[in-house]
């Protein structure tokens, strides 16, 4: 096993709100090796986006971040702003959820691409422009030369997300974080964008984190999946192992909530009943217990820790794991 490119150690994010402190990310540990892909899956509000912002050091000013984010041997949390700036965009890139708002409306696509390239790479204007055209071609944009002079509003949503990906790829990053890259797009475009990301990830041997609420997005596109709930990682496993045998009832419920083609029409989707817990009022036991159909007395009193499953690299936090012989769980 090689040295991890990214290692998140005991990261917690707290946000002050009028109703009290909100713990958005609750002591998360994750790591990712160079060239590998990690999916982070969870419902809205589970802390997955806050976790990605914590990695990028782009949290809101009021947020309190603790723990360590080790990236290529440096702790991003304690890195001097100028060194962090040189890392961002070059080794560490991001694609945001909504391409309608993540590109600057008053700057041309060319400006937004070229400024990134010229900030980090020693290229003159002409070489930077040539590189921009190559990048736009690589992400599947026709007539790239004309696109450079256009503004974001002259492009469709899928086109804009391709441009955002081109910007992210522009300096050959070691790690790309894609934060719900397809949530704001038409269904027909979603698979194209995901396939584009997967293809470029393999071609450039970069590590990638895909953040999504859709287990279907990470299936077959990631090496490992971490499922988050109420700010914590509740199950983590190599992707094939997870889909073969998931242990955490929440993961099962997430998977069941995806509509399937073979389901008969008008069958109600098995949605997860109830709502995620109020993150300003932590519960003493398992935070999924109030919504969990397997929950028993113990689940409401003690917080389950992550324990190893049967497959190597599979961990889960549950007292009553499913698809396991009774009594094997901690």
């Amino acid at each position: 096993m090689s040295e991890a490119l990214l290692s998140i150690q005991d990261v917690a994010v707290e946000l002050p709100t009028p109703r009290g402190t909100l713990r958005a990310v609750d002591h998360v540990d994750l790591s990712l090796e160079a060239g590998r892909t990690l999916g982070i899956v969870g419902e809205s509000g589970c802390g997955k986006t806050m976790l990605s912002r914590a990695i990028l050091q782009l949290l809101p000013k009021k947020a309190k971040l603790s723990g360590r984010v080790m990236f290529a041997g440096q702790d991003l949390v304690r890195l001097a702003p100028e060194r962090l700036r040189r890392l961002r965009g070059r080794d560490l890139a991001v694609v945001f959820q909504d391409p309608m708002t993540s590109l600057n409306p008053v700057l041309t696509i060319g400006t937004q691409l070229i400024e990134t390239i010229q900030e980090h790479l020693e290229l003159d204007a002409l070489a930077a422009k040539r590189r921009s055209i190559e990048l736009l071609t690589a992400v599947g944009i026709p007539a790239p030369e004309q696109r450079l002079a256009q503004y974001p509003h002259q492009c469709s949503g899928g086109m804009r997300q391709r441009i955002a990906i081109a910007i992210a790829l522009s300096c050959e990053p070691k790690l790309l974080i894609a934060d719900e890259p397809t949530t704001a797009l038409d269904v027909t475009i979603q698979a194209q964008i995901l396939d584009l990301l997967a293809r470029e990830q393999r071609r450039r041997h970069m590590a990638m984190i895909i953040i999504t609420h859709d287990l279907g997005v990470v299936a077959g596109r990631t090496d490992e999946v971490a499922v988050m709930y109420a700010g914590r990682v509740v199950e983590r496993a190599p992707t094939p192992a997870l889909f073969k045998r998931m242990h955490m009832p929440y993961t099962e419920a997430l998977l069941a909530a995806i509509p399937k083609l073979e389901t008969a029409p008008h069958t109600p989707l098995p949605a997860i009943s109830g709502r995620p817990p109020d993150p300003t009022r932590p519960v003493p036991g398992c935070s999924f217990a109030p919504r969990c159909r397997y929950a028993a007395g113990r689940c409401h009193q003690a917080k389950p820790e992550l324990v190893a499953g049967e497959t190597a690299g599979h961990v889960y936090a549950c007292f009553h794991p499913i698809q396991m012989a009774e009594g094997v769980g901690a």
């Binding site: 990028l56 782009l58 700036r85 040189r86 890392l87 961002r88 965009g89 070059r90 560490l92 890139a93 991001v94 945001f96 909504d98 708002t101 993540s102 590109l103 600057n104 409306p105 008053v106 700057l107 400024e115 990134t116 900030e119 980090h120 503004y151 509003h153 002259q154 955002a164 910007i167």
Partner: protein
């Protein structure tokens, strides 16, 4: 884009028509018969009636408006019955003074307001931001005649750096001309910068919350580039509006400042016309100033399109 310009130009027609009607009404509805004003104490009823007939004052008001409008459209705004000067001559003589004053005031106002707004927005809620917001609020409530007197006292009386009043044409001696303009322009600018700062500051703070600013940070751009290239331009729309309105207002609105500093501009012309009841000059100057104001706002609309490509392309 051409379509956009033509559409905006067409909007100007009804606005200018309304402006001309209002201007005409102001002058016509003022108490006191123009014929009496012109003839003074020696007026006999026969002389007054004859003059009224000559000037068309015995015609119905709508007729007088239309014939005045007809003359205006031919470029004839009338002639002062006191000096014999035409309105256009009088305005042409004084407009360079007013334009210079207004431009200098606006430049100084922007030079103070814009950097302060950016500095405040970059650290919104910080000590500097709170201090400057308070200062701007205080400055907003200082009337210009007061700051004029304070500036004269400080720079003309105590320090003796600058002249208190007077004027030299720009063509004669540019440097001396500028010395006469510093204090009046500064007086006006002191009233302008707080508005500029407050508007730009709040727009910048809103812009800095945008996703594309987060992305600009994630791209590793320098903080100065994020502030000046990514945030300033999309935050400038309201700033352009108020700058445009300010400029329009300052063309004719610098009455007090021009009077205090004895600058022979449009403001002084207007004040003089009011004192001497020179209604032709009054009416003509008000019309020209109002038209200037409307045209200024047209230019502002055009600037929007320069700043925001979405407007240029007919989106949003």
């Amino acid at each position: 884009m051409l379509n956009f310009v033509v559409r905006r130009l067409l909007y100007l027609v009804p606005v200018l028509a309304a402006v001309s009607l209002l201007t005409f009404l102001i002058a016509s509805l003022l108490p006191g018969d123009l014929a009496y004003v012109i003839l003074g104490d020696q007026a006999t009823p026969e002389k007054v009636a004859a003059l009224r007939h000559d000037m068309g004052l015995d015609q119905p008001m709508w007729w007088r408006y239309l014939s005045w409008l007809g003359q205006v459209l031919q470029g004839d705004l009338g002639r002062s019955f006191r000096t014999g000067q035409t309105v256009l001559q009088a305005v042409a003589e004084r407009i360079p003074v007013s334009i210079e004053l207004m431009l200098l005031a606006e430049i100084i106002g922007l030079a103070i307001g814009v950097p302060l707004a950016i500095a405040c927005a970059a650290r919104a809620g910080g000590a500097f931001d709170r201090f400057m917001t308070g200062t701007a609020f205080a400055m907003l409530s200082v009337p210009s005649f007061l700051s004029a007197i304070l500036l004269i006292y400080l720079f003309a009386v105590e320090l003796r750096w600058l002249p208190a009043t007077g004027y030299v044409p720009l063509s004669e001696d540019p440097l001396a001309n500028l010395r006469f303009f510093v204090l009046p322009a500064l007086t006006l600018a002191l009233a302008e910068w707080p508005g500029i700062m407050r508007v730009l500051r709040s727009d910048m703070i809103a812009t800095l919350q945008e996703d594309y600013i987060s992305l600009a940070k994630a791209k590793g751009l320098k903080p100065a580039r994020i502030l000046f290239v990514h945030a300033l331009k999309p935050s400038s729309l309201t700033l352009v509006t108020i700058t445009g309105i300010n400029i329009g207002r300052l063309i004719g609105g610098a009455l007090i400042v021009e009077s205090i500093f004895a600058l022979p501009g449009i403001g002084r012309l207007l004040v003089g016309a009011i004192y001497t009841r020179d209604l032709i000059i009054l009416q003509g100057v008000v019309l020209l100033v109002a038209a200037g104001f409307v045209i200024m706002n047209f230019i502002v609309d055009m600037l929007y399109a320069v700043l925001d490509p979405r407007i240029r392309h007919g989106h949003a």
